[in-house]
């Protein structure tokens, strides 16, 4: 019996993983070979998906990107014993794209069977919770604080400090809410955890509940991830049946359970207070803060809202210690970050490493430049409200503070690469369109300003009163930045102004004779 891994990760499915599995089953039975196919998450070497891994005495040998049509030749080449084939990448763990990483939060993603508790515990799953039970709530919060972990959802608020505030309320009932609304373009890290290592998210939420005195958690997942919903629901059932959730977690007197809730296609629901409104079944209009959700959150109770990656980092912090985690990174950006290299890029995928690589290293060395083979022209970091970087800024270290100094953000870790065919004026207008479409409507600068922004950038593109309209866009961005309640209207100036200031030629094309193309 040969064990074969074929990811059920959504990206692998999008590239034909189901057809590959069917072809392997068919070919194996025709040839009388006995195989066991495990559906793992993705290791994040996404350009190789579907990546078949065969367990051999030499280790796990990878073949990718595989299509159903390759399967007969894979059998002919003896892939069941690691035979040579054009798709063979050798031992996956030795592949430079994998070997160069520090897999910390994502250590098990792509490695284990996501729905096997045995596999999970054999790879160290559950040790973080055991440690938390051993040291108690206060020391748990201390350890998380020591790790330097900052919220991976986008705002980069220190997780330990947030937990301290909740614990200090000593409320009889509070909630853990996991933000899995992952709406930023260019990002998929939360999805990869939920599909590839769901028990670790459950463990992280349980530790959070234990530390903060919460007995109930919600995961708010975006509706664009049906596969993640499916895997995570199954993981919840398995965890309940084995006492990883329930009235007496692992036989302790601590009770905790988690409910999965699915959103309904509104980007703004990723904003923590909008998310809470949505969970409560309302129009998801952003709340005025203070009071912060840590004081008045879900159903008026103190609520910890944390991102998937933040919560999934807690188990390893508890298991290996805050110092271990803080040992990665630079400056005040501690720990490892899952950089999601996306868009027009040759080697796209999730690369986890300590903060501090330069943007150029990430895009050119790791990402391999563009997919189309044309020169890189811009990289948008931090999602739809993040700035565009030109290649002249490629020596910028990947670090919260270095980015903030440039009026940019790391955000949730997305990096979207563009080649030289990109038109940044068109992208700036698209940002305004996105803001208009997704605005919750509460603030006039965001709701109305974005519509005016679409019109005004349209005029610039058409070459109408370019100087006056550029001044108007600058002014509008300032108004939106200052007059918006949340980071949608409040940060959408980042892509627009970075495009305008760093790629000014794209806004003056209509004035140039060459614009006739």
């Amino acid at each position: 019996m040969t064990k074969i891994f074929v990811p059920r990760d959504m990206a692998a499915l999008a590239m034909g993983a189901e057809r590959v599995v069917a072809a392997i089953e068919k070919e194996a039975s025709a040839r009388g070979e006995s195989v066991q196919i495990v559906r793992n998450g993705s290791r994040g070497l996404l350009w190789l998906e579907p990546l078949i891994e065969v367990v051999t005495p030499q280790g796990r040998i990878g073949y990718g990107p595989a299509a159903a049509a390759h399967v007969p030749s894979l059998f002919d080449a003896g892939f069941l014993t690691g035979g040579a084939h054009a798709l063979c990448i050798g031992k996956v763990e030795d592949h430079p794209w994998w070997a160069r990483q520090n897999r910390v939060t994502f250590a098990r993603v792509g490695v284990i069977d996501p729905l096997s508790l045995e596999d999970w515990t054999a790879h160290g799953g559950g040790r973080g919770l055991a440690r938390a039970f051993e040291v108690g709530p206060a020391a748990t919060i201390e350890e998380v604080t020591k790790s330097g972990l900052r919220g991976r959802g986008g705002a980069a608020f220190p997780t330990g400090a947030k937990w301290k505030r909740i614990a200090a309320t000593k409320a009889p009932q509070c909630y853990v809410v996991c933000n899995a609304d992952e709406g930023d373009s260019g990002t998929y890290a939360d999805r990869m955890i939920m599909e590839g290592d769901p028990f670790t998210l459950i463990e992280g939420m349980t530790i959070c509940g234990f530390a903060n005195g919460a007995s109930k958690g919600f995961v708010y997942l975006c509706c664009e991830y049906p596969q993640a919903a499916d895997v995570f629901s199954k993981a919840l059932e398995i965890a309940r049946a084995a006492d990883w959730l329930g009235k007496n977690v692992r036989g302790s007197d601590f009770g905790f359970d988690i409910e999965l809730r699915v959103g309904a296609g509104a980007y703004v629901c990723g904003e923590r207070t909008s998310l809470l409104e949505s969970l409560e079944g309302k129009r998801a209009v952003v709340r005025v803060t203070p009071p912060a959700p840590s004081l008045v959150g879900l159903f008026g109770r103190p609520t910890v809202v944390n991102n998937v990656m933040s919560l999934a980092s807690v188990p390893v912090i508890m298991d290996k210690g805050g110092d271990y985690y803080a040992g990665f990174g630079m400056g005040r950006s501690r720990g490892a970050m899952a950089m999601q290299i996306s868009g027009n890029v040759k080697y796209g995928g999730l690369f986890e490493a300590g903060f501090g690589l330069t943007l150029g290293e990430i895009v050119n060395d790791i990402g391999g430049g563009t997919f189309t083979g044309r020169p890189v022209r811009a990289v948008q970091c931090g999602g739809p409200c993040g700035a565009y970087f030109p290649t002249s800024l490629f020596d910028t270290p990947y670090d919260y503070e270095a980015f903030a100094a440039l009026n940019a953000m790391v955000g949730h870790g997305g990096l979207v690469v563009f080649d030289d065919s990109v038109d940044l004026a068109q992208m700036a207008r698209a940002s305004m369109e996105f803001c208009a479409l997704e605005s919750c409507g509460k603030c006039t600068p965001c709701r109305v300003g974005s519509i005016r922004g679409v019109e005004t950038i349209g005029k610039i593109i058409a070459g109408v009163d370019v100087d006056a309209n550029i001044a108007l866009v600058e002014d509008l961005c300032e108004t939106m930045k200052l007059g918006s309640l949340c980071g949608l209207g409040g940060a959408i100036h980042m892509p627009i102004l970075s495009a305008l200031h760093l790629f000014p030629e794209d806004f003056r094309k209509a004035a140039l004779p060459a614009a006739a193309e």
Binding site: M10, A11, L13, A14, M15, L46, W47, E49, E182, G183, D184, S185, G186, T187, Y188, R191, K216, C223, E224, Y225, P226, Q227, E259, R261, V262, G263, A264, G265, A266, Y267, S278, L279, E280, G281, K282, R283, A284, F299, Q340, I341, S342, G343, N344, V345, G348, G349, F371, Q380, P384, G414, V416, V417, F418, D419, V422, M427, A430, F434, L437, E438
Partner: protein
């Protein structure tokens, strides 16, 4: 979308009742009703508003906040094309425009033969395989003109 069944009040009742025990059942029950019947009809909304003891207007207010919920019946199949930045970096806008033109459709419209509804989405988390799409919930990477033409054909035949 495929799998949806015609309106059935008793069944709707059953779905609503099954969710009433949840802490704030609104979103889950809206999802369940839409999944069953393909969209949220006026009847469904009335029934739910009554069960939750809120006005129909309030119920509409909630539903229309979210792009995912429909108050009109969709086509038999549903194609969601991503329009976010990562997909744009790979030319998604041109691919989408040409496809929509070829089908004589615009965003959020349903084909005249009711085979297909085309929607826009902003990010499917498939950003290393842009352009991306979801067809009846199945993810598709590296979307191009031939792939879309094949899907439209498939939608017509089933």
């Amino acid at each position: 979308m495929s799998g949806a069944v015609p309106w059935n009040e008793a069944r709707a009742h059953e779905i609503i009742t099954a969710h009433l025990g949840l802490e704030c059942p609104v979103l889950p029950v809206l999802h369940a009703l839409q999944k069953e019947f393909g969209y949220l009809s006026a009847e469904a909304i009335s029934l739910l508003a009554k069960a939750l003891n809120i006005s129909r207007a309030e119920m509409y207010g909630v539903i229309t906040f979210y792009d995912h919920f429909r108050i009109e019946p969709p086509g038999r199949h549903e194609l969601k094309l991503c329009r976010a930045e990562a997909c744009r970096s790979m030319g998604s806008e041109k691919v989408a425009r040409e496809f929509l033109d070829s089908q004589h459709l615009d965003w959020r419209q349903t084909a005249a033969d009711n085979s297909l509804t085309v929607d826009a989405v902003y990010c499917l988390g498939l950003c290393a395989h842009s352009p991306a799409a979801l067809y009846d919930g199945d993810p598709i990477g590296r979307v191009d003109a031939p792939k879309l033409a094949a899907l439209a054909q498939e939608a017509k035949s089933a």
